[in-house]
């Protein structure tokens, strides 16, 4: 999709906090056909859930194209490399490498964390396994995993000038596609993309801008004040506060954002994070004029 130059659409599916395969299938069927690939989150916000590889395998059986998210919080380099091989063996070759939220956010704050590797080192490792057929230790991999390697970028974190440097490092390490933190403050994102384009990074990787429909004004204000690494514009909060039909307004906002993002040079697609609101994905994609998918 990206190679053919289409404006890509990806969406996110969170596995359940149980081994309910039906749940995964149901979530998949809600969004099937409305995006080109579907990120399957890895114990997101440090809450124990069905593994991303297992949920991705179920979605793949249903005909969806999954992107397996992998964080560095819960596995050391042995576990991560093993899971890369396992995922690839199941045909799950899209992987997205992240550092991972700190365990203090989740339901096991007493846990030990790992962070043997960081996200950049994980990208580097995946690329080495694929291109050089080697583990980190140098041992040979006879059948190499055919991976499509992705990363995330957060234009809203600090220090701002470092955000482009970090993205550059990720690309240098091997990231072929990038999904950004959700854009809820358009000016900052525009400035970020200007810096990205000035460095020519948009030509070396495919950048997908994250978008998120926000269900309520309260949630918007909460995210504005309390969620580390997020920026939410006042204008957006005010629009939700004034709206009569809030969910409808939330979708209007996302659709407008997508239209604005499509005008920004260097952006090759969008990534929709409709957390616990997956059923809205079809409407968003339709109204943004991105349906049917090519």
């Amino acid at each position: 999709m990206l190679q053919e130059g289409h404006f890509a659409v990806t969406a996110e599916i969170g596995p359940p906090r149980s081994c309910n395969t039906e749940f995964v299938r149901r979530k998949g069927s809600l969004v099937q056909g409305y995006a080109d690939a579907f990120n399957v989150t890895d114990n997101q916000t440090a809450i124990a859930r069905m593994s991303s590889i297992a949920a991705a395998a179920i979605l793949q059986q249903e005909g969806l194209e999954p992107v397996v998210q992998m964080t560095c919080r819960d596995r050391n380099r042995i576990g991560l490399q093993s899971d890369i091989l396992g995922a690839a063996a199941l045909g799950l070759t899209n992987i997205l490498c992240l550092t991972g939220d700190h365990q203090s956010f989740g339901n096991h704050p007493e846990a030990k964390n790992v962070f043997d590797l960081d996200s950049i080192q994980l990208i580097h490792t995946a690329r080495m396994m694929r291109d050089e057929g080697r583990f980190i230790c140098g041992d040979e991999i006879k059948v190499r995993p055919q991976l499509f390697i992705g990363c995330v970028a957060n234009p809203f974190a600090d220090p701002f000038p470092f955000r482009v440097v970090r993205l550059k490092k990720k690309i240098e390490a091997g990231a072929q596609f990038v999904q950004t933190q959700c854009v809820l403050e358009m000016d900052r994102f525009r400035r970020f993309m200007e810096m990205v384009c000035a460095e020519g990074l948009h030509e070396k990787t495919a950048i997908l801008a994250g978008v998120m429909p926000i269900k309520s004004a309260r949630m918007a204000r909460y995210m504005q004040k309390n969620v580390a690494g997020m920026m939410v514009s006042d204008q957006l909060c005010e629009r939700l506060e004034k709206a009569e039909d809030v969910p409808k307004e939330a979708i209007n906002i996302v659709v407008e954002q997508i239209n604005q993002i499509r005008e920004i040079p260097g952006v090759r697609g969008i990534h929709i994070m409709a957390v616990a609101w997956e059923e809205m994905v079809p409407e968003i994609v339709r109204r943004a004029g991105l349906y049917p998918r090519p």
Binding site: C72, R73, R77, T99, G100, D101, H102, S104, F105, N113, F115, D116, L117, D118, S119, I120, Q121, H124, T125, I136, V152, A153, N154, F156, A157, D158, P159, F162, V165, R166, K168, K169, E172, A173, Q181, A228, G229, M230
Partner: protein, 224 residues
Amino acid sequence: MIIGELKPLNEIAAKVQGYKRILVAGCGGCVTVCQTGGAAQAETLARLLALTLDEPKTTVEWISPTRQCEWEFIEPLREQVQNFDVVLSIACGVGVQAVAELLAGFPVLPGLNTTFMGMPVQPGQFEERCQACGDCILDLTAGICPVARCSKSLLNGPCGGSQNGKCEISPDTPCAWQLIYERLELMGKLENLEKLVLPRDWSRSRDGGPRRMVREDLSLDDEE
């Protein structure tokens, strides 16, 4: 220095329950500096325990060797414990283990939680600085340790949770990488952050198992 915090009194009291003659052992080293396990705290703890333990005829006394982590300073304990049933050490974990080894078989209980290696950044406020990872990189990070001070021990710069100078885990925790960034900027060395730092060798850290250092020049050589 090593920082430690006394365990809550009720927890300590529960540990020594049943012992009639208790010797509280402070330490004149690090925990004296952070005023949690020194002579003064040993004395106070001995008094509080005597009041707290309602067993009749419980005696609680205290001592405080210069340091609990060296044989020469704790050797006298062999004699001193003769009239006691238990030692409650409020040294760091190194001290507790040294005393337990010296008195092998005699009950030695910890009264203090060893928390970290750090320093008083201002009076009454202690912060972690080093994790003894065994492979110092402070030259690359402007003298600020990301292994000890970044919540995820990251090596390639601030993660996406860094905002307004704070770490994602709490608004009270400075982001170590923000501090590193600022100091590198001050030094005109921001390019340090552009280099890819590859997976590191953690085997020199705790992960490689308990560590030891041998210095031949300081060893006693019996063969000569």
